[in-house]
């Protein structure tokens, strides 16, 4: 590759700038807190970090379950949304019912469904998994529907002139051209699944970042509240990052798309 030297330097610069900003911000906060200039509900960064050192078990015991529930919900939603989306595109009659159901489910406030689901499913992790699924299904459905319709008329005419079978049409044209749209949906869905899982944990869970957040809040343990918020953000960003990384490995032709809906 020509010019890989400057590209590495540019990449370093891209990482360095936000890192420096973050360090300066954290140092500033720390100084302000030590100087007694911050209110009691804003802890010093060192206090938050200290929580991890004090009880690393607290982090692993709560981060793990939330990550697990969000991931499971994400994959269940992926299976359902991609199948339902494909069905909606293949069978015109099913398009409106499937799409409307997906929109409706997406417009229901998640927290409101939690008590109902708890009644139906019990209070175990299954409620949080279902809510994580509900929270992230919509963007994946939109991605599938848009992706499978992303071919242009010329490309379809080309496959027609080549006398391609419906299966070959799917394999050589529809699925590959849908992939960037699927990933656009997955990238929105990953943080949404985390948000769904954490929100559901508020409604009652033994373990998880949502539960940790709630316990810390009720015991006025400000650094622990901050830690749980921070971990939630990291988990959501991490989910996005993993999907983006897989996309980079799978989609080589540099065609990133945005969902229009």
């Amino acid at each position: 590759m020509p010019g890989s030297g400057p590209s590495i330097r540019r990449r370093l610069a891209a990482v360095a700038r936000p890192t420096i900003t973050l360090v300066v911000l954290l140092a500033g906060l720390e100084l302000l807190k030590r100087g007694g200039l911050l209110p009691v509900f804003v802890p010093a960064p060192s206090q938050v970090f200290n929580e991890i050192v004090k009880s690393p078990r607290l982090v692993t015991a709560n981060l793990g379950p939330t990550a697990f529930k969000a991931t499971l919900g994400f994959f269940i939603a992926m299976g359902i949304a991609v199948s339902a989306g494909s069905l909606a595109v293949l069978l015109r009659a099913l398009y409106a019912p499937i799409y409307n159901l997906s929109v409706t489910l997406n417009s229901i406030p998640i927290i409101a469904t939690a008590p109902l689901l708890a009644l139906w499913l019990g209070t175990g992790p299954q409620v949080q998994i279902v809510i994580a699924t509900l929270a992230c299904q919509f963007s994946m459905l939109v991605g599938t529907v848009q992706g499978l319709q992303a071919t242009d008329a010329r490309q379809r005419e080309l496959m027609h002139v080549l006398s391609a079978s419906p299966f070959q049409m799917l394999r050589y044209l529809l699925i590959p051209s849908a992939v960037p749209y699927l990933f656009a949906g997955f990238k929105i869905a990953a943080p949404a699944a985390v948000l769904g899982a954490v929100t559901a944990e508020w409604a009652g869970a033994e373990r998880g970042l949502g539960a940790m957040m709630l316990y810390a809040l009720f015991s006025y343990d400000t650094p622990k509240v901050w830690l749980s918020v921070l971990l939630t953000c990291l988990l959501a960003a991490g989910g996005y990052g993993v999907v983006a990384l897989v996309e980079k490995l799978v989609v080589r032709h540099g065609r990133e798309v945005k969902l229009a809906d």
Partner: protein, 276 residues
């Protein structure tokens, strides 16, 4: 093994095509007759909206005529298509962006089946060399220029050694210099492929330079108004574009396009078609 025909002729008989719009209907083609003998190169020229692309799509079995019939070597377009006997080059390259140059050229092989003996496939390496893309085999379409992308599309249309090669303004989006070079290359490739070729264009010069016969069409309704035979020898060279025979052909195509009485003033007013 089945004895395969070397090529097919294109026969269009009394074809009429009507598009039904809201309330009104447009006659895209009216009683069109045309015959391109086996192994010859013909062009269709006419103003925008004269139905020349529609005619090409009827021959490729993308559209169906309302009346009349099209046969390719005696078969229906559908039979010819199922026999993978058609090569089609669109105005836009229409490459699959996730496939490399080689994979795009080999797409028809994937559809027919790599080990199929139904068509004698050309070697991809030979084709890549023929269209001048050696060294770019593993490039993705977005890394290529427009001219290079169109070469890939031409190679893809030739990989199954089609009996009939249909070209829908394949060089319309290219600049004049690249276009002339592509015309020469196209002729060179066609000459050694023994395929029957039909080119749709709105360039008078291109039509005459490439073809044995030029079909001149008028718009609304789309009709063939004249057929101009081009008596230039092959292989064609750019020098021929300055010959008397060439200018004579240009004038006869113009007469067809603008009508005899208007042709005298044709040079002085804005023209609906471009000439070299």
């Amino acid at each position: 093994m089945l004895e395969r025909r070397v090529s097919r002729d294109i026969q269009v008989q009394d074809v009429t095509m009507v598009y039904h719009g809201r309330g009104d209907s447009v006659i895209a083609l009216e009683r069109v007759d045309m015959h391109v003998p086996t192994g010859q190169f013909a062009s269709i020229i006419g103003p925008s909206g004269c139905g020349k692309s529609t005619l090409l799509r009827l021959i490729a079995d993308i559209l169906q005529p309302h009346s009349g019939q099209v046969t390719l070597g005696g078969d229906t377009p559908r039979a010819a298509r199922h026999d993978h006997a058609l090569g089609f080059v669109f105005q836009s390259p229409t490459l699959l962006p996730w496939r490399t140059v080689r994979q795009n050229i080999e797409l028809p092989l994937d559809v027919v089946g790599r080990n199929s003996t139904r068509r004698s496939a050309r070697s991809t390496d030979e084709l890549i060399e023929l269209v001048g893309l050696k060294g770019f085999e593993d490039a993705l379409p977005h890394q290529l220029s427009g001219g290079m992308q169109q070469r890939v599309a031409i190679a893809r249309a030739l990989v199954l050694t089609p009996d009939v090669l249909l070209l829908d303004e394949p060089f319309g989006a290219l600049d004049e210099i690249t276009r002339q070079r592509m015309n020469l290359e196209m002729l060179r490739i066609w000459a050694e492929s023994e395929t029957t070729a039909l080119l749709v264009t709105h360039s008078i010069g291109e039509a005459i330079f490439m073809s044995d016969h030029v079909y001149v069409m008028s718009a609304r309704p789309g009709r063939i108004v004249s057929v101009v035979d081009v008596p230039l020898p092959r292989p064609r060279t750019l020098d021929m574009m300055r010959s008397h025979v060439f200018f004579d052909c240009v004038n006869r195509v113009r007469d067809g396009l603008f009508g005899m009485e208007e042709s005298a003033s044709a040079a002085s007013r804005p023209q609906p078609v471009e000439a070299y």
